[in-house]
Symmetry: C2
Subunit: 159 residues, 2 copies
DNA sequence: ATAATGTTGATCTGATTAGTCGGGTATATT
DNA sequence: AATATACCCGACTAATCAGATCAACATTAT
């Protein structure tokens, strides 16, 4: 249940593209790398994946760079996550609905489906336009109102 | 965002313990391994971790085995996940509230906190008593009512 | 031309995951 | 006391993945 460095980098790069001024201007990979403190060569690989998935376009040469291939309000975090990390939620290699745990453990299948729904309820609702504007959609922002959201749970192996 | 084999195995093992008849009877590791099709030696390691975390107890010898150290309705999936896999949601090694992305990408921090809230809303609500009984708590079961919950999203890299 | 830039494929290292193995220790039954 | 049963522990391994680097090549604005 961890967010990979790749996804974090790719998402931040996409936000840089969404926030470019003027809108749609090609942004150089090195510019993103510097502003977001991402290893430049590694970022280039991620941008290449996003380009193959047709979420961004690129141009080379003197005035080259990357720009969004799709309007920012039509690209969700889930879209980026699926390109970079594969399916949102899978149970050791299987899609949850394919997964068939034996006997009394059968209901874990429903559990993992519920987890997937919960993840989708955030990742498919938030677009990079939202993130570039700094305003999350109402349903997601509501999750952050509970002060408990900001509190880390104690490590079970200490104390 | 994947569920590790270890967590899947550990959770299924805990459900076997919760479902043991009569309740509280010591269940042998090999019995769990066979019923749940889990590699026996590997399972033993997971059970040892759960024992060190004081979620299960064990006894050796002829009538030995494992049993829950805590009532089944007081052990959530999140408890097991934290023992086996560490923190529920972290952003490439950091806890989301520690994570401080630069510049225009700053709102991704709120995003990852929202993801953590969403995960907690399922994993901290479902107990192994629920799973052993085959009935998820109302708030979680509600997530499964949307038929869309059961439908897999198309792979972005095909067609 | 040439300098700036993106593209591709190969490679590398360290960590993690998913296991296996051998030998030891405790305990209930006989 | 002997024995069968079962947990305990540390080391080991093989495969995969994450994260990153590099060299060489292709394209384009000036």
């Amino acid at each position: 249940m961890r967010v990979s460095a790749s996804l974090d980098y790719a998402l931040r790069a996409m936000i840089e593209l969404a926030a470019a001024t003027p809108p749609g201007r090609p942004v150089k990979a090195d510019e993103i790398a510097e502003r977001q403190a991402i290893p430049a060569r590694f970022l280039a690989q991620l941008l290449a994946e996003l380009r193959r998935a047709e979420l961004v376009s690129s141009g080379r040469g003197y005035a080259g760079g990357y720009w969004l291939a799709v309007p920012a309000d039509q690209i969700t975090v889930a879209d980026i996550a699926r390109v970079i990390d594969g399916p949102l939620a899978d149970v050791h290699g299987m899609s949850p609905e394919v997964f068939g745990p034996p006997g009394v453990a059968a209901p874990t299948r429903e559990l993992w489906i519920a987890v997937r729904v919960a993840l989708r309820s955030v990742l498919e609702k938030v677009t990079i336009a939202d993130l570039a504007a700094g305003t999350l959609p109402p349903g997601v922002a509501a999750l952050l109102e509970d002060p408990d959201a900001w509190i880390r749970r104690p490590d079970p192996m200490r104390g």
